[in-house]
Symmetry: C2
Subunit: 353 residues, 2 copies
């Protein structure tokens, strides 16, 4: 039989059972190992399977019958590449895969754009981790809730009944801001993460803040306000170096209005602000201090050692994965809020004058 022909007529459990001279039920038991089957019978079944090139029970049929697919979905708020370019997300992903080990489940990457045949609305997943504070969260959550799929949100309030794994965004930012104040800064500006579903770039305004759909962004803004009540700034269109650079240029170009310190809401954005400062001939930290958030090593940023708030990204992922395992076991786990640690690098210093 050629490969092509074989592909058109793969053997089924029934075929194997027939050849082994047992019932399908018995053959099934032999494969699952979950029932009492005599050694002789088991071996007859396996021999038949081998003879027929049977690769084992079809997972599609198993999951229909069992009501479980053995797959955990991870909803990214953007295309796969973008998520993979963010070190924080990678660490969370790895943490999740660690957390769900007891499930032996695979990780299915999903985006919340709703494109493609396989989406949040119909992916064959048993549970889902929502990564990142996506503005589109509400819609995603509604679909998942309708489907009765357990979910946990990492960063972001997805609904009162949905477990949240978060960090101390407000307090951590407050501590970073206090560090700047202690250095003597008073003219400080923010470079925030996206605020709305369109990820609109631009100045931070009370209107836009009021309409924020990103809890993380809002919380970190609030933390900065605790120290610098009137602080303003700009919103980036994503968390990456280029967006940080654009924001930095907008903030630092005019010597008249230039802040002496910038609070960026991610390390990638902070790195971009540093790039912008360099382009404008400004020294960091002599002319501008830059504070980040995340505590990831940013590619090519050396010899700068970013002053930042280090958050436990992998631990967050692991906690999320563990929570899903518990929910699938019928338990009702609590959410977790982790603490970030202030790291003093070499990108902050007292203001020049």
């Amino acid at each position: 039989m050629t490969d092509a022909a074989a592909a058109h007529a793969r053997p089924t459990l029934a075929d194997v059972a027939a050849r082994a001279g047992v019932s399908a039920s018995t053959a099934s038991l032999a494969f699952s190992g979950s029932g009492p089957v005599s050694d002789a019978t088991r071996e007859r079944v396996f021999a038949a399977a081998k003879a027929l090139d049977y690769a084992g029970p079809d997972p599609r049929a198993q999951s229909l019958r069992r009501g479980r697919s053995g797959i955990v979905g991870v909803v990214l708020e953007e295309r796969v590449r973008a998520a993979f370019l963010d070190p924080v997300k990678i660490q969370m992903l790895d943490g999740i895969s660690e957390g769900i080990v007891p499930l032996g489940a695979g990780l299915l990457l999903l985006t919340d754009t709703g494109e493609g045949a396989v989406s949040v609305a119909n992916a064959p997943v048993d549970a889902v981790a929502l990564i990142g504070c996506s503005p589109r969260l509400a819609h995603t959550v509604a679909q998942l809730r309708l489907r009765g799929i357990p979910m946990v949100a990492i960063e972001g309030h997805a609904g009162d009944d949905i477990i949240e794994i978060s960090i101390d965004n407000e307090d951590a930012t407050r501590r970073g801001a206090e560090h700047l104040r202690e250095l003597g800064h008073s003219r400080v500006a923010l470079v925030t993460l996206p605020l709305d579903p369109e990820r609109t770039r631009g100045p931070l305004t009370p209107e836009r803040e009021a309409e924020s759909t990103s809890a993380t962004t809002s919380e970190r803004i609030a933390g900065a306000r605790l120290v610098f009540p009137g602080i303003g700034g700009v919103t980036a269109g994503a968390s990456d170096v280029e967006e940080g650079r654009l924001a930095g240029l907008a903030l630092l170009a005019d010597p008249e209005t230039r802040p002496t310190a910038v609070i960026a809401q991610s390390d990638l954005l902070a790195a971009g602000v540093i790039r912008a400062a360099e382009e404008l001939g400004l020294a960091v930290p002599a002319d501008v201090s830059v504070l980040g958030f995340d505590g990831v090593r940013v590619d090519g940023l050396a010899p700068y050692d970013l002053t930042t708030l280090v958050q436990p990204s992998a631990a967050k992922g692991r906690a999320a994965g563990e929570a899903l395992v518990q929910m699938l076991a019928g338990e009702h786990p609590e959410g977790t809020c982790f603490s970030s640690v202030f790291h003093r690098g070499n990108t902050t210093a007292p203001p020049a004058r």
Copy 2:
């Protein structure tokens, strides 16, 4: 009805059909949009679905019935984190997700360790991309072949009948080696990628090379031999900076035997060799020249600009994804071999003496 109760009795297509007063077939047609259904009927079905909180056809039943799961597997040769730490793999992954867009399929992350309930042996995937030149390839391929699942291998010969997406490992390395020879180097050593399934660290010996299970490693060694016939060196236990550092220390510690140039088989390994040189008080490239492979930006390596062979990682992934799409459409695509581009950075120079 409480959420918990709802979770125990999710409505089915049959329920929706009954409420809409139509047959299940018609309701199915209404949802799939693939059959002739009158507007009035369709709306009645949707109204019933809404009233019952029906989230749409169960993907598990659909995939059993249709024989397709809408999921493409990506087999990583190591744990998720390790793959995500390798920029080359991330670029390939992103390329794959781009290549399978026409399928609208999700990407399921799998490792070839065989652990967990969902593995290569039973994952509900329609097709699979094998990433990286894993030594465990043979076993993975055998399982997939038995299951009749179309696959494509990125880097690595998986079998005569399996499409390969590769690059010019031998020729690219040859060009890099020639660059070193032209600079005047003659005492050159290799730091290779793993050679065997155990990823054994240690000196390169004819025996070990003969038993290599990694085509990529062997091809790159062969390319170096075209220029430096007797070249030896050490094998790293993985492609990361720390392994490169260990290899570099082994190679550079003894001033008597120290090479004037090192050919590393990945940029990450090259970065590690540079770190080792620094630790030993050697200057790069003044005391030791270092050549990499991949053309990725290595975190924290600035101001070094690695001399390397730049390979088109994302394009490889895309080609792999596209090949799978074609195979699923019943076509028989060819493999592709891409070319790498030599990049002259600042880590190679004529030997000191």
